[in-house]
Subunit: 176 residues, 2 copies
């Protein structure tokens, strides 16, 4: 057993979306932050392992010139596709064994990058320890929800809040 | 012209719901707050006029032994029903004339109590000045959304944040 946690760290619109319907996150970029990286480096330094769903992985690839998590073990969770790709390991191992295994081996916390389907599955299987949401002061009106309808009812305990310009970061422990 | 504002002041789950599917808000009551009324009296003292939709009105009636806004002018907005009821005035006047009129006459701010359909209409018609959301540390999984899908995309400016126990109150100016 390690002391590592599994942490969802993500930005969300006020109406609960993490991306526009096409997966894009361009609406994040004109928000006035703290003038720096809005706490990202500080968080990323605590991360030992990165996990994300396939759609999120594809959005990350589309956004960045270089894969941004290349220097961390990074797992792409996909039921259907198991491909070879640089910097990442595709896996369809069941979450119940995969995530505790990664958490124990990891040299730091396990970051769940997204998206909504994985969040739902992690909450249902009680695999999520903390949720850190950057509240973006916008209503999108449509998009990909962080907590899709049908997510298992869950309670959280507030463990931190921080203002970064127009962004408010809310940190919660997931109560099991 | 008055200096009164039209303010949405409401509690929302982390997944964006203001009530369970049946309209109930019992999930609000076991949250640890600030030990007092979580800023409600302070807010209510700024309110001159109360407006809400018919479904919200019916939920308020179902919840309270006494109508909680009896000492303020209170308008229930309903397209279909125009009934006589104690403490409130039903109206189907178009929002575009009703709300500016109420704002100008009001002895204080106009409080939009809810629900989601009115929020959508107020944002679309640019009738909302401020949004004050009490973030409740729960995921409900289903319910009545504060910002239903199809709400007009909107941007806000953070004007305040406050922790009240497990609740975080976020206040925004609506950018027009």
């Amino acid at each position: 057993m390690s002391n590592n946690k599994v942490v969802l760290y993500i930005a969300m619109s006020l109406d609960g979306y993490i991306a526009k319907p096409d997966g894009s996150v361009d609406w994040l970029y004109d928000i006035e932050g703290d003038g720096g990286d809005n706490g990202y480096s500080k968080f990323y330094n605590t991360v030992g392992t990165v996990v994300m769903g396939r759609l999120t992985y594809e959005e990350v690839l589309a956004l960045a010139d270089e894969f941004p998590y290349a220097e961390r073990p990074c797992y792409v969770l996909s039921r259907s596709q198991q491909v070879e790709a640089p910097h990442v390991t595709f896996t369809n191992e069941p979450l119940e064994t995969l995530i505790p295994g990664l958490r124990d081996q990891s040299k730091g916390d396990v970051w769940l990058v997204g998206g909504g389907q994985l969040v739902q599955a992690f909450l249902e299987k009680k695999l999520l320890d903390e949720v850190c949401i950057a509240m973006i002061p916008k209503v999108l009106g449509e998009g990909i929800p962080l907590f899709p309808e049908g997510t298992v009812p869950s309670s959280f305990r507030l463990i931190g809040m921080e203002q970064m310009g127009q962004i408010v970061s809310l940190s919660y422990e997931v109560l099991q």
